[in-house]
């Protein structure tokens, strides 16, 4: 049976909420002003930030169409690890603190909601067939960094999925690569923490249909100081608050490829 695929003209996409309800609220307000027809979240509601349950009413009230990230899958299944895919001891140390806090402070009802999310979505944007995933189409926690994702692999993903546009997240840093024949690969970025560029804002993506697909990365400014104070009040590591305030990653950066790592402060 043919899969029924919703059609849109203009949509917003983001990933990695990371318990950052303040940035989520600001993102949703910004997207509404930009006249988008639907908002998609590519997963990982939890992580780093404080008060995980505060993001769920926002997602539900604004009809955000979400898919499941590795964090969501772990929370829903009661796993002891976030499944982020880190291999470095320092990365795993901070990931464990973040996950244990989030697991403890996410309600049973919200874990069940995360468990019901689909693993991916397909839409049409004009003539473009869009495939959304969290990490990659084949592995939920695969990192698709700009400097470490071959064009040959992206073409293979799109060919296997019979899609024209691949939208993913998971790494925390946005990028867009236009492939031949009107095809695109887009890492839509995350709104939960800044992207290691020394700026406190976060990023989401607006896609607009047309003869050529329009890809816009939108900066979102929010009350990061309040978030940083909440992180501190909850007893989370000061490194998390420092990243929110400075825009430089202080943790979970050992798996960055050399090109992305060299752009950061640490």
């Amino acid at each position: 049976m043919q899969e029924r695929v919703a059609e849109y003209r203009r949509v917003a996409l983001f990933g990695g909420v990371y318990n950052n309800a303040l940035a989520l609220h600001a993102t949703l307000e910004d997207a509404r002003r930009r006249d988008v027809e639907a908002v998609f979240c590519l997963g990982d509601m939890g992580g780093f930030g404080p008060h995980p349950d505060r993001v769920f009413p926002l997602l539900k009230d604004h009809d955000v169409l979400a898919i499941q990230g590795n964090y969501d899958e772990s929370l829903a299944q009661g796993k002891t690890d976030c499944g982020c895919g880190y291999t470095d001891p320092r990365d795993n140390h901070f990931a464990r603190i973040s996950y244990e806090y989030t697991f403890t402070n996410t309600s049973t009802e919200n874990k069940a909601w995360l468990g019901a999310l689909p693993g991916g979505r397909r839409i049409r944007l004009g003539n473009h067939r869009v495939l959304m995933c969290h990490g990659s189409p084949r592995v939920i926690n695969e990192f698709l960094w700009e400097s470490a994702t071959p064009t040959g692999l992206l073409k293979r993903f799109l060919g296997q999925a019979e899609a024209d546009v691949l939208a993913c997240t998971h790494t925390g840093i946005k990028w867009h690569r236009e492939l031949l024949e009107g095809k695109h690969a887009i890492n839509v970025g995350v709104i939960g923490r800044p992207e290691n560029d020394g700026s406190s804002n976060v990023w989401y993506t607006v896609l607009t249909a047309g003869p050529d697909l329009s890809v816009e990365f939108i900066p979102v400014h929010y009350d990061f100081e309040t978030l940083a104070r909440q992180i501190e009040q909850e007893g989370l590591p000061p490194e998390f608050a420092e990243t929110v305030r400075t825009g430089w990653w202080t943790t979970c950066l050992e798996n960055l490829p050399s090109r992305e790592r060299s752009r950061g402060k640490f």
Binding site: S147, T149, P150, G152, E254, P257, S258, R259, S262
Partner: protein, 301 residues
């Protein structure tokens, strides 16, 4: 230093006939055993008993490496690694790195002894002009020169440290790779990972990158016997987490399942083409126990 052996790995080469297998899932990592077992060092714990004289696994002809890179590109490879032996002994290593970087992010595993400032400059220029990230993994087994050189050979510590500094000064971010071969000599102190990070920070490396590897009982540490995996060991275990489910190694005489076992007859999956090696890999060797128990991968992360 141990004495050099000919075909040392065959001492511990069990049959692969009834071993459990790992299904092939995807080609994530292409490994190129570029210099075979030809190396300018003779480390006591080398997994493939590499050395300077008469390598039992021959270097690869450049055209074989290029063909593998092109085939891997067509097959959707995600990353490419060059290993040996010592890759910088290969006369065409720079051109082959450029060929690989045109296709995918590329890593070269080196002992660092042949990286001087001029080579670091060339590598930095290559990295700047490439479409994808170039990673340099420099092996160093101990932060103490005497302990390091006892297993890696006289002078190896100073040369590797200088290579790390040259690379750093040229803007590259080398990954220092250490085995646990001497870690027991530091009992009671900081953990090995933190010790290496602290050592690199002391050299002025602002972004220290460290990868720790277990020691494998093969190559120069090969011994008879040794436990092997059974189907019972793998019950409820996700075999897709083992690197042999998504890696293939091109060596001079064929394609193998993983870099640890490259060159061993039991691990050989094809005589030539990459795609022909996309079949179940036997977990037949005692070293497979180490991967199963530690979750280790030879990849960067």
């Amino acid at each position: 230093m141990s004495s050099r052996m000919s075909l040392p790995l065959l001492i511990n080469e069990p049959g692969a006939g009834h071993a459990p297998v790992v299904p092939f899932l995807r080609l994530s990592a292409l490994w190129i055993q570029i210099t075979g077992t030809w190396c300018n060092l003779e480390c006591t714990h080398c997994i493939n008993a590499s050395g300077p004289n008469d390598p039992w696994l021959k270097p690869i002809a450049p055209e074989v490496a290029r063909a593998a890179i092109q085939e891997a590109d067509q097959l959707g490879v995600k990353e490419i690694y060059f290993t040996g032996g010592e890759p910088f002994l290969h006369g065409e290593i720079m051109g082959l790195l450029a060929d690989a970087l045109a296709v995918a992010p590329t890593t070269v595993l080196t002992n660092g002894t042949l990286i001087d400032d001029a080579m670091a400059y060339r590598l930095a220029a290559l990295a700047r002009g490439a479409a994808y990230s170039l990673e340099i993994r420099v092996s160093l087994d101990d932060t103490d020169p005497e302990k390091n050189d006892r297993v890696r050979g006289a002078g190896a510590f100073d040369k590797a440290v200088r290579a790390i500094q040259f690379l750093h000064e040229r803007g590259l971010l080398p990954i220092v790779t250490a085995t646990e071969i001497t870690s027991h000599e530091h009992a009671g102190g900081r953990g090995m990972y933190e010790r290496f990070r602290g050592f690199l920070a002391g050299l002025g490396i602002e972004k220290p990158r460290v990868k720790i590897m277990p020691v494998f009982a093969l190559g120069r540490l090969s011994r008879d016997g040794g436990r092997r995996l059974t189907e019972d060991d793998l019950e409820s275990f996700d075999r897709g987490t083992l690197q042999c489910s998504e890696s293939r190694v091109v060596a001079a005489d064929g394609v193998y399942a993983c870099p640890i076992l490259a060159g061993l007859p039991g691990a050989k999956l094809s005589d030539g083409g990459l795609e022909a090696s996309f079949r179940d890999a036997p977990l037949y060797h005692p070293s497979c126990v180490t991967c199963h128990e530690t979750g280790m991968t030879c990849k960067n992360g």
